[in-house]
Symmetry: none
Subunit: 416 residues, 2 copies
């Protein structure tokens, strides 16, 4: 099945945002045996959207739209497609109820334009929006399949995975489905990972082995075609076992979750508790942990010790570590250790993480940009401190430092 | 001048990489009065590249290619275009010399395929590659302009800025360039904003007015054509003044920065200090503030008070607010006020923010998902608390709560 992705939005044409939606959809299509031959971006302009659809239906079996389902006059995807297909736009009542409920729960006044988000092309299958208001659509007309997804990634992704993909799989019919297993790595870089598996990657036929990297995360996807999940597991077992035997101490999950989710699951499961003291990451570590529902069971709280006063008064970091000639300074091994121990002791938690470093740009108090110390204090065990020299801009240094600290904690949690 | 960007590469179609090149080129075009009407992605397949070029030259004056200039058999852009235009590919000798020198300086053996990187379409202008080996091309044929850029961003960007852009500016000749002003809003939703400006938006001709929204941010871009920045400012002045007169108390910047950057600038400029106490946002507020270089001047630190113990012991929230029959509870107006006052008093800062709420999914301690209280304590002024009922998933509730708290602080900072 040949596919084309059409992203609709003038903000993409003006380069105000990056088309990450096209990447996500393309990757998922590739994993599901749908061949994307073209991606197109077009602005919020009815004639040009129409022209793009004309071209796409001449060369693709399925057209995947993203964007243009919102409430404003610029959101035109449904209007244009309905017009081209000679179908009416109707109000999808369950979606309309959801919009009304939301506005009434907020005590806010619903404006007329919000109705547009409940529009639905006559005769299509509505695709529920789990995380937003605009309903999606899927339909087949004159042999072409159309899938309409919203533009915001947090709405588009769940709609694609939970609604559009099953609908598309229905079209694929008898084909032997793809199964894959995602192995998630921490504490190892992309090229290092690839080098340690290069013989497997180069010799791959079935199952296939593909490395993926995004900021702060590295993954391997093992994929095969099989009639059942059990058969797929069996076909993948040998190569998965080989990867574990080489790099098991870096694999924190065999599903697509971030390391903080793995940590919260382990800690909640065992009734363990966590606290943290962050300097250069400024709250990012806490933000990552608390992104997980249920994190309140494990997470007691944290201190963002951006000033020495916070480090000393709240974390009991000795004044002589922080001030005076020849003192180790705020960014140092003893300070990282004292921060972790200070917050663990206050929170009486089983584990505590600390991070202190120079996020940049430029050096600070004589320490180079990217120098970071991470500490782990543990009930009844010795405190561990690691020194990192990280590359990248401020945002990147913060994220890498936080992810590395999480890897230190995860390693302690799974150690025998 | 109408433009189309064609990114060539199967890795884009498979979603292995994100098309950041299209964003970069689109943004630069917009800034230089070149109107990108379409972006296309096509794989390393000669027939499909040819088909994409046929379509593009029917709808664009200039086609900007990126990718497919490398040494491998999959790098086809020059070959396909030369074939379509009936021109020969020749070796560009200065580029060839550079390739030879590089290999000899490394003591490496140059393979035949490296010659491909020095290929050059007969009669085109070569575009020097400052950071790599593949030479670019720019040419005009049958009224269409073609610019061929490499795929790796670190090669493409300098070639675009230093070689292609001057070449394109030469084509634009007398054309009057575009100027635009970005107005950034907080504390107001996308549809509300649009409704309050709908008459302006619908009546727009020159300058144009376009609303944009991304998670937690709403913006308006006002754009006009003018010979100089001063002339543009003058043409935009009336409509900008009208927008300010209607919604000025929501406009935190007239450039594309997030509200936390505006806050850090104001506070650093005035020597004001900030601290914070976060519960449901879990560190996100601190993370946003500390994303800004120089935030250490203003930001003293924060408490992530995820447990009642942290709220009571570190923030002095009275025990009777948190426990016992009929107590207001952790998610309540008095607790939010006490948190803000507690951290302000400890940090002795000029301002302090607090956030306490139910991020979800589901209710907590009898309070509904999305209920959030934000507090602002101020030196010598009364503490303010706002009650919010937010929609969306956990991540979205956290972000909206943090952005709303930042708006509360910004409003206090700019109040007379």
């Amino acid at each position: 099945m040949k596919a084309e992705i059409i992203a609709v939005g003038t903000e993409l044409l003006l380069g105000q945002i990056v088309n990450t939606n096209a990447q996500f959809i393309a990757q998922e299509c590739a994993n599901n045996g749908i061949h994307v031959h073209y991606q197109t971006v077009v602005g919020d302009n009815p004639e040009r959207i129409r022209a793009a659809v004309e071209i796409a239906r001449g060369r693709a079996d399925v057209i995947l739209f993203t964007g243009g389902l919102g409430p404003t006059q610029d959101d035109l995807t449904k209007d244009v497609l309905a017009g081209m297909l000679g179908r009416e736009l109707k109000v999808h009542e369950p979606s309309m109820d959801k919009i009304r409920e939301l506005f009434s729960s907020r005590g806010a006044h619903m404006v007329e334009s919000n109705i547009r988000q409940a529009h639905w092309i006559e005769g299509s299958d509505p695709l529920e929006n789990e995380t937003g208001l605009a309903v999606g659509n899927a339909l087949t007309a004159d042999g072409t399949h159309y899938v309409l997804l919203p533009g915001p990634p947090k709405e588009m992704k769940p709609m694609f995975l939970h609604q559009a993909l099953p609908w598309l799989r229905g079209l694929l019919g008898e084909a032997v489905p793809l199964h894959s297993k995602m192995l998630k790595f921490a504490g190892i870089g992309e090229s290092d990972l690839e080098n340690r598996l290069i013989d497997l990657i180069e010799a791959q036929t079935d199952p296939t082995i593909a490395p993926y990297a995004k900021e702060g995360e590295v993954s391997i996807r093992v994929t095969t075609r099989a009639g059942s999940k059990e058969e797929a597991e069996e076909k993948m077992a040998a190569v998965v076992a080989e990867i574990y035997s080489r790099l098991g101490k870096h694999i924190y999950a065999d599903e697509d979750i971030p390391i903080e989710t793995a940590i919260v699951r382990i800690m909640s499961g065992k009734g363990l508790t966590l606290a943290m003291a962050e300097s250069c990451t400024g709250g990012l570590l806490g933000d990552l942990i608390t992104a997980n529902p249920g994190s309140a069971d494990a997470f007691r709280g944290g201190i963002i010790s951006y000033s020495n006063e916070f480090k000393h008064k709240l974390l009991n970091v000795p004044q002589e570590f922080l001030e005076g000639d020849g003192c180790p300074g705020a960014v140092s091994e003893p300070t990282a250790a004292a921060m972790a121990e200070g917050i663990r002791s206050f929170a009486d938690s089983d584990y505590a993480l600390s991070i202190t470093g120079v996020a940049g740009p430029g050096p600070s108090e004589g320490k180079p940009e990217g120098l970071v110390y991470i500490g782990l204090a543990q009930r009844g065990r010795e405190t561990v401190v690691e020194r990192l020299q990280l590359a990248g801009n401020r945002e990147s240094v913060k994220l890498k430092a936080a992810k590395r600290a999480l890897f230190l904690l995860w390693s302690a949690l799974v150690a025998k």
